[in-house]
Structures are given as C-alpha cells and as structure tokens.
C-alpha cells in the first residue's frame, strides 16, 4: 500500500493536452514545421516594416531587374521590389490559405460527421446539398457574386473576408464525403454501441468519439486545402472576389508569370512566391503529420 502511495506521487496523471503538446514537441519535424510557419508569419507581417520601398511605388525605369544589392529579389515589370511584394502577398495568402481551409474543414468535417452519424434524413439532406454544391457551375456563381459585391460597393479591402468564406464554402464537399464515409464505418463499431449504452449525447459521440478517428484524413485534406486555397485566391481575384491587383498575393504573383519567356528569362518573378507557397504547405504538412502522430495513440516517441 505504501508503495502504491509512492507511485501515486511519482506518476501524476497528465492532462491530455499536455500529453499532446509534449508529444508534439517531441516530434522534431512538427516543431520545424511550426517554426517555419511562425517565421513565415513574422516575415510577412513584420518584414515589410523594414523595407525601404512602398507597395504602390512603381518605377518603370527599374523594371525587370534581376536580384541585386538594392532589390534583393529583383523587380517586376513595373519596377516594384519583389521582396516587399512577396512579404505583403504573404499576409493575404497565409491568411486566406489558413482561414479558408479552416472554414472548409470545419464545415466539411461537421456536416460529414453529422450525415454519417445520423444517416437517414440528415444524410440524405446533407449529401443532396453536397451533390448540388458539386453540380453547380462554380464560375458563373463566382462571377455573379463578384458583381453583387461590386454593386453593394463592398470595400475591396474587405472582400478578402468574403473570399475566404467562398473558398471555404467551395471546399467542404470533398472532405464531407470523406469524413462521412469513414464515420459510416466507424459508427458500426462496437465502441459506438458502448457510447450508446452509456447514454452519451450525440454531440459527444460525434465530436469526441467519431471525429478524432477521422483526424488523419482531415489533416491530409487540410494540407492539400491550404495550397489550393492560396492558388484559388488568385483565380478569384479576376472576378472581383479576391485581392485587387496592386495588392499582391502569392497566387497573383505566380500567375503573372504566365509565359514561357517570363518563366525562363525572369525566374525571380515566380520562384519566390512559389517557394513561399511550397514552404508554407510543407510546414503545414509537417505540423499536420506531427499533430496526427501526437493524436495517434499508437504513434509514440517518434
């Protein structure tokens, strides 16, 4: 008994969060990912303060300069400093990428889980809505939305919020179907009968028992979503939904380099934003992997 008491002192039960954090922090790759992401944020949100240039400052005489001492990453065809633009673009792209993905993951996971869990009417309704979402022609809708926002005279600066919402809304269907299908399998397992026997609330069944088992797939979907959202943003900005040209975004910067000549002659215009997206996506994936491993009971001490 005494010894038991002693053990009690030594082995204090940790809170689940602490464990997750500890495990996460043991995951070197995940830490690197987090570090990179923080660095990206710092670069984008603090970096521009140190730039000698300004966003709207064009200087056609300095156009298309290769990287040099005064323009570290060179200039674009309007003579604007690419470094500054990449950093400013990051503010938009990082936010859009993360927020839009968060929205679509939240919607997709929840609706998918609800559909898979309740089946019957909920499933029919949600999945038919999903069908409709899939079947609707995106482009005309986006054109219309752009026109409506313009008619409502919504400040272009604020359209970015709509943009995030729109990209978020566009992306939920795939995840919802994935999650639903997994939940359909999971809900038939005996541990779900156990939750029923315990009389647990549906909320808890869905969010504590079922969804955590779909986390790996959610993470994959989220990682893929971030890159998608960043690139989609640039496509939407053409329709009055994204950012307006003087405000850069990584997607816009890359799409601006849309010819073979640009591609070959002035790599400094597209490599920096491309690398930024790559680094962000990789970082997020590293974090995602880390998170998954941290949440996965069977992956320990990695």
């Amino acid at each position: 008994m005494e010894q038991l008491q002693e053990q009690l002192k030594i082995v204090k039960p940790e809170s689940p969060w602490k464990i997750a954090i500890r495990r996460f922090s043991k995951n070197k790759l995940a830490l690197i990912g987090l570090f990179i992401l923080v660095l990206m944020f710092l670069l984008c949100f603090v970096g521009p303060l140190f730039s000698p240039y300004e966003l709207n400052q064009t200087n056609v005489r300095n156009k298309n300069q290769a990287p040099n001492a005064s323009y570290w990453l060179g200039t674009d065809k309007l003579g604007r400093d690419i470094l500054l633009r990449v950093m400013l673009a990051g503010r938009i792209s990082l936010t859009v990428g993360l927020v839009a993905t968060a929205i679509s993951v939240a919607i997709g996971a929840t609706l998918g889980a609800v559909a898979g869990f309740y089946r019957k009417y909920a499933d029919t309704i949600i999945m038919r809505i999903a069908d409709i979402f899939l079947a609707l022609p995106t482009l005309p809708i986006l054109i219309t939305l752009g026109a409506i926002l313009s008619d409502l005279k919504v400040d272009p600066g604020q359209r970015i919020y709509f943009l995030m919402l729109i990209i978020g809304l566009l992306g939920w269907v795939g995840l919802a179907r994935l999650v639903r299908s997994q939940i359909l399998t999971l809900r038939e397992q005996e541990f779900m009968q156990a939750t029923e026997a315990l009389g647990l609330r549906d909320n808890r069944k869905i969010f504590r028992h079922l969804l955590p088992n779909t986390v790996p797939i959610i993470i994959v979907s989220a990682t893929l979503g971030v890159a998608g959202a960043i690139l989609t943003e640039s496509a939407l900005s053409f329709l009055g939904l994204g950012v307006v040209p003087p405000t850069p975004s990584w997607g816009n910067m890359i799409t601006a380099a849309n010819s073979l000549i640009e591609f070959r002659k002035r790599p400094w215009t597209w490599i920096p934003p491309g690398i930024c997206i790559l680094v962000t996506v990789t970082a997020i994936n590293l974090i995602g992997d880390g998170l998954r491993d941290a949440l996965d009971p069977k992956m320990k001490n990695r």
Partner: protein, 339 residues
C-alpha cells in the same frame, strides 16, 4: 522422450511507452516438446500474449522490441531468420490463434477467403480444393451452415463463431506448433469441449505441439501436459500439470488455484489474491509478487528470486524454496532436466 521443439532462452521483450519501458517479458526461459501441450497461465497482463507474439515475431515495433534472448524452433533461432524465412514458417509450421477474435479478422473479406488464404499460399491448393477444405474446417470447429458462413463477413458472426474461425485458420495447415491465446474463452462449454477435443485430436494425429494460454484452470487440467506460470513478465513456476495441481509451490500459484470457483462447491465469497500487479515500468530488483505475498520475507523485497528446479522438473522462483531448489539443482546437474 520427445524432442524439444521450441525453446525460449532468456527472452526479453520490452515496450517503450511515454511512462517508461515496460518489460513485458523479462528473462523468460522454457521449452515445448514435440506433441506436448504446454499451458501458460498467469495474471492478466503478465506477458503471456507478448511471449507468444515474440515467438511469432509479430510484436508491434515500435513500441515493442525483443531486446534479448533467443527463441529456438527446431534448433534454429527464429530471431535470426530473415523476414521471408519467418513468413514461410508462420501459418504453416507455427500457427497462432489470437486473443481478440473480433478485430483479428479482416472486415472486408469473407470468412471463406480468409480461411482459404493460407491453404492457397502454403499448401498451394487449387481454389476449388481450398474451398472444400475451408468448408470442412468450418464444420470441424462446429459452426453450422458452413457454406453460408463461407460467404459471410466477420461482423455477421457472433464472438464465439469468430473465435472458431480463427481456430480454423490456425489449424488449416496442420502446424507443428499451435499457439492458442485463450482460444476458448469466448466459447460455451460444449463448443469448448469440442474444440479441446479437436485440438487433442490434432495433437494426437499430427503430433502437433500446443502452447496454450488460458485462464481457465479447468482447461489447463484437461489439456496440459506441462504448465508454466508467469507473473509480471517472469516465469515463476513450471511443472507438469499433475505436479502443479498436486503441489503448487509459489504462493501466487497457490492463490490462483484457490481463487477458482468450482462447480457444485459454492462458496460465500471467492478467494482473491490481495493487492495489485506492480507497475510494469521500472520493476525493481525484487520478487515482483512480494507485496501481495503472505509469506513475504526481507530478501523478497531486495532481490529477485531465480528460477530453481525441484524434483521432477518442477521449478519455482521463490525465496521460500531457495535452499531446496539449490540442493535439487546440484543433484540434477542440469537445469533442463525434467520428467
């Protein structure tokens, strides 16, 4: 005397966990002879399954790892075999029935497919032969409507039926060694009897050795030739079945036998060994049973007792019998000797 088929020599299997290293199997040695049924009993969580799994080399790694010792099968050290060689033995020469029948069957394949797989693979039967044999096996383990069951999916069967399917799979290739991890716990007594008969039958016919892990001392009494008792990752006693039931030496074994409710001998309260199994992380150098033992001595708290042989190959790891054991060992001259 039959040849030794399997020998565990100082096997050590550890699990790395967040709390520390679990020495699930800690310096375990014993052997199984051809055609012999060896039962492993012991506290739940004492490492029986892990021992068996180590033999199959199916320890999940990470976090588990066989850190020491050797496992000889027909003289070859299994731990040194290549993956390919090992998989040639598995399911063919050595088969195993797992403890959890529910999750051990692949949910997306039919029962028939899962039973015929080793037949096709190891015995290179034709599909038709395999199907016939599979249905035969299903019948053999006492499941009705075998043709229907052949096309069913695992979730459509009851627990006992799945367990029997697992048994059928294990028996499919007439293994030299059958490891049965609590094969009949999910079965009712009539089926259990049937399965036990079946195993005995196979043993008789094919000279199959059986390593059976069970809690049911009744089953042990019926089946075993030899019994190994484990506690906290260690073998604490081994003896022939008659010997063990006649004169259990280790206080833990004694407790176990006392705890079993016996039919038609109704008691008010069942005996149970007081206390709990120690935390498997960082077990100290002591007798792991000491804090639950009514005969606990000073030495028990500071030193791990070695496994000593007594008469007739009866071995115990307990300081109570230390002197007797040492004497016997000197007399016998060999640790290996047993009846």
């Amino acid at each position: 005397m039959a040849k030794e088929l399997v020998a565990f020599r100082n096997l050590e299997t550890h699990f790395k966990t967040s709390a520390g290293t679990v020495k699930a199997v800690n310096d375990v040695s014993f052997s199984i002879r051809e055609g012999e049924t060896l039962c492993v009993v012991g506290e739940s969580g004492c490492g029986k399954s892990v021992t068996a799994m180590s033999l199959m080399q199916l320890i999940e790694s990470p976090p588990g790892k066989i850190v020491g010792g050797e496992i000889l099968f027909e003289g070859k050290d299994l731990l040194k075999l290549s993956k390919k060689e090992m998989s040639r033995l598995r399911g063919n020469d050595i088969a195993m029935i797992f403890q959890e029948p529910m999750s051990s069957l692949n949910p997306v394949f039919t029962i028939g497919k899962q039973i015929s797989e080793p037949l096709l693979h190891h015995l290179t039967m034709s599909h038709k032969e395999a199907k016939a044999r599979a249905i035969e096996l299903i019948t053999m383990v006492g499941i009705p409507r075998p043709e229907k069951i052949y096309d069913s999916y695992p979730h459509e069967l009851s627990g006992g039926m799945r367990q029997r399917i697992m048994i059928a799979i294990a028996l499919s290739c007439n293994p030299k060694l059958l490891i049965a991890d609590e094969p009949t716990t999910a079965l009712d007594v009539t089926i259990q009897a049937q399965i036990l008969d079946l195993m005995r039958d196979i043993k008789g016919k094919m000279n199959t050795a059986i390593m059976m892990i069970t809690h049911d001392l009744g089953v042990v009494a019926e089946m075993a030739d030899f019994v190994v008792v484990m506690y906290a990752g260690k073998v604490i006693e081994e003896a022939s079945v008659l010997e063990l039931f006649r004169e259990p030496k280790h206080p833990y074994t004694q407790g176990l036998l006392k705890a079993k409710p016996i039919i038609n001998q109704r008691q008010e309260r069942l005996y149970s060994i007081p206390g709990q199994v120690p935390n498997p992380v960082d077990l100290g150098d002591n007798c792991h049973f000491h804090d639950r033992c009514e005969f606990c001595m000073e030495i028990c708290k500071v030193k791990t007792p070695p496994l000593r042989a007594h008469a007739d190959g009866h071995k115990t790891a307990c300081w109570l019998y230390e002197e007797e054991g040492q004497r016997n060992e000197r007399n016998a001259g060999s640790v290996e000797a047993r009846a």
